[in-house]
Amino acid sequence: MLTKRLLLNDRGGLIVLGLVALIMLVVPVLNLWVPSDSALHLSTYTVTLLGKFLCYALLALSVDLIWGYCGILSLGQGAFFSLGGYAMGMYLMRQIGNRGQYGNAELPDFMVFLNWEHLPWYWFGFDNFWFAMLMVMLVPGLLAFVFGWLAFRSRVTGVYFSIITQALTYALMLAFFRNEMGFGGNNGLTDFKDILGFSITADGTRIGLFLASGFALIFAYLACRYIVTSRLGRIAISIRDAETRTRFCGYKVESYKLWLFVFSSVLAGIAGALYVPQVGIINPGEFSPLNSIELVVWVATGGRGTLYGAIVGAFSVNYSKTLFTSFSPESWLFVLGALFVLVTLVLPKGLVGLFARNKKTESAHESLEANPTEKKEVTAE
């Protein structure tokens, strides 16, 4: 029953999840068991890259959940991602122990460098993996809760919400750049050694992280599917299409939006936590408003309001980014800029919209296409 609800009605999702599962099966085999001189061998670099893409896909999913289904365009999703990443980074920093440059078992290197004497209170507990994982979800969730509660309660909607979320991530970026914050300032957290006792650079660990990202993505997808097919999801769609009308029907729009926003921020936090050990660094640059807005474009490119479109978008945009930056870094911003413009102008339904054109589209998709109410409401603002 649940399977039918979650997957069978979702052909696109089934295909995309199938592909993700296939990658998760093939990649470890090609990386670990195919000899390195074979043409089929997959380098650890590629594994890490794919792992990164999986984290991005998870992040994009979190955006699509609120943007595609609830009409909340958050340009600060990168902030939750980075906060999750920092929480993970703090755990990894504590794991270095006395193997840092200064060999100080008590303090991370940058604190020794800045002549700090004690570990700040907010670093306590991060020696424990479970505590760090709790924080990965709790910190972004809490921030989203407070911020969303303030914003939705006073009916900050549409573009205003986008701009203040952008200001939020910008403010956080500036704050994290300060050395006094105790998060490594400019350089962020890096030089990680191991995670749960496994060396972070080992091939096996990389595969493990890759698989963890894949599973996280699949579970998150199913969870999001569960939400959007539930009653909550239907109300979210009605909020997206006609917020005032939904409110007048007696639904507490603020609460629905708030819970979706918090859930999506937790997803983003998890994505960040999985991302950091794979790339080996987290710095305040991740908070930059550009990152947050770029990931909105992944979703737009893939196709918003479909969930699987977000995954397609994250993979395709990031894959082309890797391609372009490797042979002509100059041109990437041109391409990205053009993508922003073209997707909004000629591909409002994204890449997946191209394939779904002649087929019977899903409910979510359909109402996105024909939603005169949304337009009317937005102009009114």
Binding site: G158, V159, I163, Q166, L174, F177, G337, T344, T379
Partner: protein
Amino acid sequence: MAKPTPFTTGHYFSLRHLTLFMFLVLSLINYSHAQTAEAVTDTATTAESAQNFEQLLEQIPQGSLADRADTLKKLAALNDSRSIEIIAALQQGKLLANSANKLAIAQEDGSLNEALGKNKIAREQTDDYTKIPVNNSLRNQLSSLLAQLNLNHADEKVRLSAVKRFINDGLDEDSAALLQQQIALEKDSDVIDAIKVAMAIYGLRSDDETLRRESIKNLHGSLEPEARTALNELASDSSNEEIRREAEFALQAIDNKISYYRFGENVFFGLSLGSVLLLSAIGLAITFGVMGVINMAHGEMMMIGAYTTWVIQQLFPNQLAYSLLMAIPAAFLMAGIVGVIIERSVIRFLYGRPLETLLATFGVSLILQQAARSIFSPLNRAVSLPEWMSGSLVINPVLSLTYNRLFILLFGIAVFCLLLAILKKTSLGLKVRAVSQNRTMARAVGVRANWVDALTFGLGSGIAGVAGVALSQLTNVGPNLGQAYIIDSFMVVVFGGVGNLWGTLVGAMGLGIINKFLEPYAGAVLAKVLVLVLLILFIQKKPKGLFPQKGRAAAD
């Protein structure tokens, strides 16, 4: 921002003179500037004394050191301002003479100039010149002679700077006597005040208690840093209880005055930041406030304006003062045209879909940034300040306002008024307001709404370009110039109230001042963060900004 110069008390409004006596005060090396500017000789110099002057000059190289001191005293007694340079050169061992007792001054580049005529001496002849010897005691005498000459100078700025120098270096018995003499002759009130301060600082160290008290009284509220230091010394280790109390009292007055001026300075800095915010937000107030278009490429319009300024400056390198004025209309046109192109090619398909507009214009901003990077290189370009914009208006030793910020403040307000006039008084303004209030009705009465859209967007973008001209005078011009301001500008518009130009003005100035007043306590970065957080909280309270639109136009 230039630091307040510690050398001044009075009111100086002439930039040229400011730079002039900075030179004099900081070093006595390069007197040539002063001399060319002050080439006028004393009116008292008669033909006879002119002859005498030249004779004395010829005598300098002759005789023993004692004779030389004598000659120089006579020379100083003539009170001819031309001798300042010669004596200064002698003091630094840069004065040379040839066998015919003609004097020459060694220049920085190793060549020789005639001491009087300023003509360059041909290379072949330089071997003939030898340095005129001086010793330490003569050098000390020369210092006081120089001070005396400067104090007698016809120009009161030179006199004032000579006194300032005394304040800086502290007085000894001789110079105190000299100043005592001078105060009776002096006519300029600024110079008299400065002399009084110098005497009072000297008097603080005297043994005579009444003189010390008198001096403390005279220093009451003086803004000279030296006065403060001297009083501080007195207040901390004077054995006399009463004097200490008086010194503390005088210090208190100084500190009050300083904090008062610091407050003024903070307000100015705040207004200056506010004017930058105003300039960057004002164009946005049109595109976002009036048209409801989120233009994320707004910052890049400023970048285009700034680059236009740079290009024009490169085209006319010799016309620094005018190129900036030329850049204003050029930047307006350039940014305006780009704006119209963007509107026609992208934005017009997206009216009524603000989130999509946001994304598309963000894409445009990325393209423009990368284009700037490809065309002008990713390095920052420096636009030079024209002369009339460099330097600062010194009001007193603690408060001075730099001209570029002052001009930009005025410029921002001028642009604001101009825009207000365009919207209120011109037919374009009328149409813009009509379309923004009721599009269908405006079309029904014959307004070409599409055309108005394009022009409005062009106007908003053009003003952003003009803002870029102003910004180029404050920071370096680079591809990321606009990005730094886009979030701030949106904040200003949202804070002030969308669709309300006055709100934008109040919002920009308010944010600027809040920012500058938080800075001393929280540091620049944290102040910015705090302002953003405060704004986010403010928007919760008043989602429509300070001055929300009311009535029918407000829709929603």
